[in-house]
C-alpha cells in the first residue's frame, strides 16, 4: 500500500470565509476511505480542490508515484491523470443513450482529432457491456439517459466512473435518494472497486458508512477532526460534540 494522493496544508477562502483550513489528508492505493462531517465542513470543497475546480490559496496536492502537483493543472488534465469524480446530483448526459454515456467515459484517447478520425478501440463494445452488466443497465443500453430513474442515473454515473478506470475515485453522496436494495448494490460496487484502486466516499449516512467498513476521516470547519475506524471516530469526544452540538 503506497500513498496515491497527498493533500497537505491546504487552505482556501471564499470572500473571507475559510472553507478549508490547513487540511491534510493522505489516501493510499488501493484504499476505501469515507469522509464524513457536518454541513459546511468542507467535504465538497475538498473534492473541488483535488479535481481542479477550485484553486487553493496555499498548500500542496500531490498525486501518484511521480509526485505530480495537481495545482495548476486543468480539470481535464487531472481527470486524464487518473482521478474520477461523481457529483452529488447525478449528472449524466440526458440527451444521449446509456451506451453513449459510458462510451464517453471509457478510458481512451481524448484529443479531438483522435476522437474524430481514430478507429474505435477494438474491445470498447465489450468493455461497455462489462460495465453495464456491473451496474445492471445492460437492458437499458440504448435508452436515453434522461428516461432512467434517479437510482439508475446514480449507477450510470458510477458506471461512467468505472469506465474511466481512474486510480482515484471521488464519490459524493452516492446513496442519496436510493432504496435500501439499491444502496446495498452501490456498497458492493464501491467495495469491489476499492480492491484495485483508491476510492474516497463522501457521505452523510452513517449506516451506509458502517457498511463500507473502512477508515473514516471526519472533517470539521475545513480541517481533519479525527481519523480511524468508524467505531474509533464515533467514540471521539470532539466528534460527538460536533455532531450533537455544543
Amino acid at each position: 500500500m503506497s500513498t496515491l494522493l497527498e493533500v497537505s496544508g491546504v487552505s482556501v477562502t471564499f470572500d473571507g470565509f475559510r472553507a478549508i483550513n490547513n487540511l491534510s489528508i493522505q489516501i493510499a492505493e488501493p484504499e476505501l476511505r469515507a469522509v464524513i462531517g457536518p454541513n459546511g465542513a468542507g467535504k465538497t470543497t475538498f473534492m473541488d480542490i483535488v479535481t481542479g475546480k477550485t484553486r487553493p490559496d496555499e498548500g500542496r496536492v500531490i498525486f501518484g508515484e511521480k509526485s505530480v502537483s495537481l495545482l495548476g493543472l486543468s480539470e481535464s488534465r487531472i481527470a486524464q491523470a487518473g482521478i474520477g469524480r461523481k457529483f452529488q446530483k447525478p449528472t449524466v448526459f440526458e440527451a444521449q443513450t446509456v451506451r453513449e454515456n459510458i462510451r464517453l467515459a471509457l478510458k481512451d484517447t481524448r484529443g479531438p482529432l483522435d476522437v474524430l478520425i481514430g478507429r474505435k478501440a477494438r474491445d470498447s463494445e465489450d468493455r461497455i457491456r462489462a460495465i453495464s452488466d456491473e451496474i445492471g443497465l445492460t437492458e437499458a443500453l440504448d435508452r436515453m439517459a434522461g428516461s432512467l430513474s434517479h437510482g439508475q442515473k446514480q449507477w450510470l454515473e458510477i458506471g461512467m466512473l468505472l469506465a474511466q478506470d481512474p486510480r482515484l475515485l471521488l464519490v459524493d453522496e452516492p446513496a442519496a435518494g436510493m432504496t435500501p436494495a439499491e444502496r446495498e448494490h452501490t456498497t458492493d460496487l464501491l467495495v469491489r472497486a476499492a480492491r484495485t484502486r483508491a476510492v474516497v466516499v463522501v457521505e452523510h449516512d452513517m449506516e451506509f458508512v458502517r457498511r463500507l467498513n473502512c477508515k473514516v476521516t471526519v472533517l470539521h470547519e475545513g480541517s481533519v477532526l479525527a481519523e480511524g475506524s468508524l467505531d474509533h471516530v464515533t467514540g471521539n469526544q470532539d466528534v460527538i460534540d460536533v455532531y450533537l452540538g455544543r
Partner: protein, 390 residues
Amino acid sequence: MERPFLARNPSVLWFLLGLAMFTIGVTVLSEAAGLGLVSTSFLKTLGKTLCLCLVAIAMDVVWGYCGILSLGHFAFFGIGGYAIGMWLMHARTEGIVLPTLQAAPLPPTPQEITDAIGNQIFGVVGSSEFPALWAFSHSLTLQLLAVVLVPGLLALVFGWLAFRSRVTGVYLSILTQAMTLALSLYFFQNDTGLRGNNGLSGLQNIPGLEHRSQAEVSLWFFWASALALALGYVLFAAVVSGRFGSVIRAIRDNEARVRFLGYHVEHYKLFVFTLTAMVAGIAGALYYPQAGIINPGEIAPIASIYLAVWVAIGGRGRLYGAVIGATLVSLLSSWFTGGSAPDINLGLYVIRWTDWWLVLLGLSFVLVTLFLPKGIGGLFDRLVRKGDAP
C-alpha cells in the same frame, strides 16, 4: 463489426439523394441546359440558397450540436466572399486594362499595369495604390487558400482567447457579436483598402469565362454549390455522429462534467468553431460570385443573427433542420421583399409585404421559439417518429 458510415446514417443518404435529384431537376429546367423554365436569375437564387444552406449547417454544428451561439459565422462567410472577390476584381480589371495598355505604342511596364488596375479598382475611394491586403490578389490559388485560411485563422485566434478564459453562454454570444461588429467596422473604413462601403462589385463576371453566357456560368456555380453542400453535409454528418459528436453534444449540455471526464473542452470547441468558420468561408466564396456584389453590410452583426434565426426555425441539432430553415426563410424572404407577394387590402389599410415582412418574420420567430423549440425539423421528427438524425 463496423458498418460503412453512410449505412449507419441513412438520413445522410436520403439527403444526398434528394439534393442530387433537385440538382438534376433544376438543370433540366434551366435555360442553359434544358427547357428554360427556370430563369437564370432564379437559378442564381437557388444556387445562392444552397450556399446559405451550407453556412447554415455549419452554424447548426457550432450552435445546435456544440452549444456555442456564435454571432459571427456570417462574418466568416463574408470574409470568404471578400477573399474570392479580390481575385475576381483584380483578374477582371486586368482583363479590361491590359488590351488598352497593350494597344499603346510602347508595351506597358509591370508598374504601369499595377497602377492602371489600382486606379480602376480604388478610384471610387480616391486612391490608386494597392493596399497591402491585396498583395496576393493576382493569384487565384493564394486567394482560394485565403477563403479557407483567413476565416479559419480568425476563428482560431478569437476562439482561443474566448474559450481559454471560459466565456460561455450569452457572454460568448455577445463577444462574438462584438467581434463581428469590429470586423464590419474595419471593412467599412476606406483605409482598410477594401473599397469601404462600396464593397467589391462585378463579381458575376468570371475572368476567362467572358465568352460564356451568364446562364451557363450560373449553372456551373449552381452545380458547384450543390457539390459543396453535399460534401459539407457528409463532413458535418461525420463530425456530429460517433464519439466526437457525442463529446460535443455533451459539452453543449454540461461542459463542466465533460471536463471531469478528461476531455479538453476548449480544444473541442476550438476545433468545431474553426472548422465551421472555414466551411462558412467556402460557402461565402461560392455565394458572392453568384450575388455579384459584396459590401461590409453583409458582415454586420445582424446577418449573423439571421443565420441563427434560420437554424432555429429549421430546427437545431439536426443538419437537415438547418437546410430547411435556410431554404425556407431565405426563399420566403426574397419572395416577400422582392415584391412578388400580393398585397392584402384591408379597406382601411393596405398591407404591403415589402414593409411588413420583417414584422412577420420577427413575430413568427418569437412564436417558433415559444411553441416549436425544436423548429420545423422537430415537427418532421414527430411525423417520422425516428430519432436517428445525425
